[in-house]
Symmetry: D2
Subunit: 302 residues, 4 copies
């Protein structure tokens, strides 16, 4: 039609070739969303598993994705550097990932949070960041994982102080500070305030000590998924005695801050050479979902 000229206003947004493409998603107002849906504080295992499953649903669709890394309400996806999907058009890559993750989160809600009704459609923001080389890309992954640690240690100590702490306010202060938050939760702001004050200026060691000495909690024993987030990537897995291999997306909670991790996983940076890359960790929900239906599977106990 004579209006077709308006298509010329769409400008080319091709990304620099030979460069790592990272897409990071983050839940919009998940502070409120978590409250509205009664997520356990500071970590709700069901919510984290849902995030992982949504990310797995993305990884399955986009074979150019090398890795996914998730924590809290965010997920990062890394495309291989010679990815040519959609001819590297930025908006196409960014939106199809964002959309698929978002609908998967909604679609699989009941699988993980069956008891809790989804009250409204959630949403995620997304962005693309380019990293020109492996060093900066690894630092990106370390940055996100360091973030898990910092936040989780703080949050764990904070909520332990609040929920199990001996910060009981006087009756007077109690009256002043109790406020009914949205969704009918009552919080004692005096306690929140005391917990915050207590942690102000503390370093990691201090928090570990509070947890251990006052609550007999060894932070090391917290779940790996809480302390380290979840890394998704492709590995081979033996599927029967005949030594046949099948490629699956695995979900692990390894320590990416150690350089040894990156030495051991050099293959991560390329999709092709997975031959020496045999998975022998635990059988997770995500892995078994993939093996289900394929020939025969090594039993979960292996």
């Amino acid at each position: 039609s004579s209006f077709e000229y308006v298509k010329k206003f769409e400008l080319d947004d091709t990304l620099l070739p030979n460069t790592w493409i990272v897409v990071r998603l983050d839940g919009k107002c998940f502070h409120k969303f978590a409250d509205d849906h009664n997520f356990k504080k500071p970590n709700d295992l069901r919510a984290l598993k849902l995030m992982n499953y949504a990310a797995f649903s993305v990884m399955r669709d986009f074979s150019d994705l090398l890795m996914g890394f998730g924590q809290s309400d965010e997920y990062s996806f890394v495309f291989k550097k010679d990815c040519n999907l959609y001819k590297r058009r930025a908006a196409k890559l960014l939106t199809t990932i964002t959309s698929k993750f978002s609908t998967s989160y909604t679609y699989y809600w009941n699988k993980f949070l069956g008891d809790q009704q989804l009250l409204y459609p959630p949403s995620f923001d997304g962005r693309i960041v380019l990293y020109p080389n492996e060093d900066t890309l690894i630092d990106y992954m370390k940055w996100r994982q360091a973030d898990v640690h910092i936040n989780n240690l703080y949050n764990t100590t904070f909520w332990t102080l609040v929920q199990e702490g001996k910060l009981s306010p006087t009756q007077a202060s109690f009256n002043c500070y109790v406020i009914t938050l949205n969704k009918g939760h009552s919080f004692n702001f005096y306690i929140l305030f005391q917990a915050e004050k207590r942690l102000c200026g503390t370093v990691s060691a201090d928090k570990n000590e509070i947890l251990f000495k006052e609550f007999n909690i060894n932070y090391n024993n917290e779940l790996e998924i809480f302390k380290r987030g979840t890394l998704l990537f492709r590995k081979n897995i033996n599927i029967d005695e005949s030594n046949k291999c099948s490629t699956v997306i695995v979900d692990v909670h390894d320590d990416m801050l150690k350089d040894s991790f990156w030495k051991d996983h050099k293959d991560l940076f390329t999709i092709k050479s997975k031959q020496h890359f045999i998975y022998n960790g635990p059988m997770t929900e995500i892995i078994s979902a993939q093996l289900h239906g394929r020939k025969s599977v090594i039993p979960e106990t292996t």
Copy 2:
């Protein structure tokens, strides 16, 4: 942490000020998705209503959106030109719209397609296009609506020919051409092929004539939503006898190709001055959803 420097690789993507921002979404592989979910051909009213409701869910969240226009598996959203949401950061605007639309489509699926199970999470691509002035923006809207007309007239004639046409093949050709498509549908490719051949080179008038003469179908009587798509925008509505007004998002199927439409709707280009802008069309599902709960509502029959 010492890895925080990687945040510097995130580059500024602020959009040109004082310029119309259009976000267009389009279903990914909806040819297959429609087949997989038994959408009626060529138009499935339930599917279109779901699209509209998802778009309405977006419009409700983003008060800077002036208009939405949808057809088939696509939706366009227009931000007012002085929109300063997210400081006009392109990725933020693009992804939050894409994400909200995508999750709403999934979330409201059962409301509109209750009989048909959603088999997997759908996804949508998205893009941002800037239009510097009203003329080009209007041409954009006309472009999308002209597209509805062209496609719908073609599709209506095509599927009428196929489904009700006298294109019955000989038994011989039938045997050659019948193919079982995915999802167990059998199609007679001979018939599809004949229908395509029949329409090749025809103009609008020809297709109208085929429909009318051969099938006694007056194309004009087709549903407006099929012929023109759906426009969403904000209008005022009288909510009771006291002449009080309430602003609602209305869903209409007006002819935007006529210049008179744009003269009558000059206010569309700005959110503020809606005073003279009273809605007196039919009460739709989307409108009543909004009035529900507000003081008192003029009955749907009005």
Copy 3:
């Protein structure tokens, strides 16, 4: 060759269509350059004329340029909004303008500053700014011209105070503050400091008064080129008695802050319709340079 793939790293930088393209150039370290080349303070007419001539040399080469506006060490060039030169590739437009202006400034140096040797190659930075509509474009032009006024009134008063003022320091302070600047100029910093102090917090009216009352200088009588900068654009000119017209680039010093200017010059926004657009201002160096050689010219005195 097998290395040709590296060309793919050149990314598309097409500018939004139907949008005003402004290229602004600014002399790099012209504070020093002006000192090094003994420019008169605050305005050196020869230097401004050289800027104008270099800009004229650019306008002559790029027929899509509608206007140029210059002041101090900067020049802005405005492309017509439907310009399709180099298919609107940003770097091409930006660099060819920057380069041509830069070499013209160097090439024509002797024509205007013959007495003063050019000591080293100067340089200019450049940038592209898009304006989506006439209103913002006009505000851009007003912004640059308002800048001339503000700076020139300040500079004129400041240097009058310094050069002719009665700010004579005591002998003592004189000894302390006199410093030999680069290029052998001696300045009395005490005086500069006093002048600055004197002007601190003053408004336009104050500066006009200082000039008039203390130095008997009527700011209105200053050269238009100093007060308003120079606007270059195309007009028609009568070149002989036969009423024949010729299009020339004219250099004027009109007041663009008045809205009447923009009403009178609506044609400025388009190159085509120059028919009613007859120049009858003074014959300038730039205009006569263009008429030279064409048939016959109306004498300069007209």
Copy 4:
């Protein structure tokens, strides 16, 4: 002023960090410019030296530049990958390089082409290309140098055939084809046409053979600057017997297509570690221009 808001239309154009920035300049219409200024065909040594000197003038000003490579009417400049000049603003880097090169070319014209008047200001286009890693950057350099070889072998053979060849046309064809080009040169198009036909489909070996067998020209003996272009970079040089070192920009014509070159010059990718990087090539005009004035210089004959 109230117009200052228009500055917000200037958008951020920061370049991706940790990435090689290449600026390539190319003479605008130098086919004509070379003709107009009687450049020797196919290579004019004076013109190439002027290009090199202009590039040297740029390198001297921008200490973040690691290399320059020039040939014909083009020059590429490579910034170190952690360059933070102008905070990596693309337009600033691009235009200041373009401008400085352009004015230097004009300014130093007489130094190299004193006999030939510069008839008008030349101009250069410029572009920025990013390379994410050393491999692609090296391939970029190889691409440009391979280009020199391909073009120069062709041009040398072509002009030898034309100027000294036995392609003498018959008198008849001569009359038909001779055309007076701009600047009064007469060319026999019949001869140009014959030379082109002769070279059509030939490979390097063929051209070498034509030169050698028919004109007794050993292509290997052509000037290195013609065959390989010029590379500029910083090296140390011994400036007197006391073994003191001085850093200078050197102009060499090395073979960058050999991988050994890049092994030997690993230091090229960083500005800092030049200690082992002693220059002991010939004393060139560019080098001696820099040493002039410094303490004492090893005589040019060394």
